[in-house]
């Protein structure tokens, strides 16, 4: 029998860090792989440059509530305020990924698996600081296997549009680097 799929992601950071599009990529890829999916954004004043977050569900089962409050299987925090806000959203035994380039603090909980990924540094090394979100997405996929690499190019095109297709190689590379960073730690 195939592995049970039931992922609940919380992704958070500043507006402009590509949080929403990272979540959309994951959601789209899940849809391509015939999973039940949902993507729910925060839509308050944070849309105007403050903090941004989204909830992504990828599951074998029909998606119930699209809102994730306490039972995230994986939380991604890309900036300092998001750590304070979302560390508690992860369920026991879940995964917390922290962008250590921008987050100085360490996680306080010891009942979850915490990974520190210097997303911005790796992105700069790669030559494009804007792909920090894709570094993180690579790390997320390495740890959760929520979707496969194969569906990402199509998801990328769907999210970013045909006009951004020339950026696919650097984004693929960024996803690979993020995955490698995690693989090296294991």
């Amino acid at each position: 029998m195939a592995k049970k799929v039931d992922h609940r992601f919380v992704m958070a950071g500043f507006g402009g860090q590509g949080i929403m599009s990272m979540g959309m990529m994951l959601t789209y890829a899940g849809m391509i792989e015939n999973k039940n999916v949902s993507w729910l954004p925060s839509y308050g004043p944070e849309m105007r440059g403050g903090t941004a977050n989204c909830n992504v569900i990828i599951s074998d089962k029909a998606v119930g509530s699209p809102l994730i409050t306490t039972n995230a299987t994986c939380a991604v925090v890309m900036n300092q305020p998001s750590l304070a806000k979302f560390e508690s959203s992860v369920e026991e035994g879940g995964i917390l990924l922290i962008n250590s380039s921008l987050v100085e603090n360490k996680a306080e909980r010891d009942d979850i698996d915490v990974y520190y990924v210097p997303c911005n540094e790796i992105a700069v090394e790669l030559g494009n600081p804007r792909v920090a979100n894709m570094i993180m997405l690579g790390a997320v996929l390495q740890l959760t296997e929520a979707v496969t690499e194969d569906s990402l190019p199509e998801a990328f095109k769907a999210v970013f549009g045909a006009g951004k297709e020339h950026l696919l190689p650097i984004n693929k590379e960024a996803i690979k680097k993020g995955a490698e960073f995690i693989a090296k730690q294991a």
């Binding site: 999916v37 729910l40 998606v63 119930g64 809102l67």
Partner: protein
Amino acid sequence: MAKVLMKGNEAIGEAAMRAGLDAFFGYPITPQSELPEYLSREMPARGKVFVQAESEVAAINMIYGAAGAGARVMTSSSSPGIALKQEGITYIAGSELPCVICSVGRSGPGLGGIQPGQADYYQATKGGGNGDYHLLVYAPANIQEMCDMIMEAFDKADYYRNPVMILADGMIGQMMEPVEFKELKKEREVPAWATTGTEGKRAPNIINSLYLNPEDLEEHNIHLTKKYDEMKEKEEQWEEYNLENAEVICIAYGTTSRIVKNAIETLKDEGINVGLIRPKTLWPFPEKAFKEYPKTAKAILVVEMSTGQMITDVRAFNEGRLPVYFYGRSGGMIPTPEAVVAELRKIIEGGK
């Protein structure tokens, strides 16, 4: 057509265009602004009419006019914006014109907040405007269902010559889910009653809601009531979920029903059976779903994102047979599955 991942608000726009929308008149308001934004781009590109009116009041009166001229029309707004439209809505109902109104609810009262809410149940089902009229009101729980309901809404609006409302909330408007659009089965013809110009060949068609003679107006009211009775007979829709052997029956619609389903699954894993009746039409309220309960049912729990509105109808159709409890959050706060589970436990274990 393949599935696409789409934001609820944009999906409303696409579904309406697939249903043959001729013209959209609206005014932006969070959390539904992506809908007019989408249509402002797509409608002109497809040779259709998009107008951002100067206000909600103007928009609904443009709907009144364009519907009278025989166009397939839609407007959309959110709670306080829908409040502003009420005068136009009752005129449209009184004049027997078809249109679709999308209400993507936020929290209230007044300007309230921009987070999701279901406190517009009364506004949608009990009529915010004056007079004996009703809207046919659909309450989708996911984006696919919302798109299907919109396609259906236009046809029902034509059939009954009555405004039809899609009552969603900010969560379903903002979230993204996969959706597959259906194509319109057949082209809509301009209705014979429309004010399209006589060309000197027929008597003028008159669109009006004013009847100064009480005998005539009563007759008009009786005629409208017959339509509403037909809606009650034919249009009630609901979903039953895990109802067999249920100890408690939850009643919830829209987004809230999804949260309740999570709670039901949690309890099912413990061997506790809880069911759900989810109204898919809010008016007519699915009275038939309340005819007979499973013998195991001991109580009803109504869950809403309000301080309790639909519960009035549940109580009416329950007719005192089972105790009716309520759990709700308001002001843009969303009930959690855990909180619903806790309420259900109180009822089941505590004999609340």
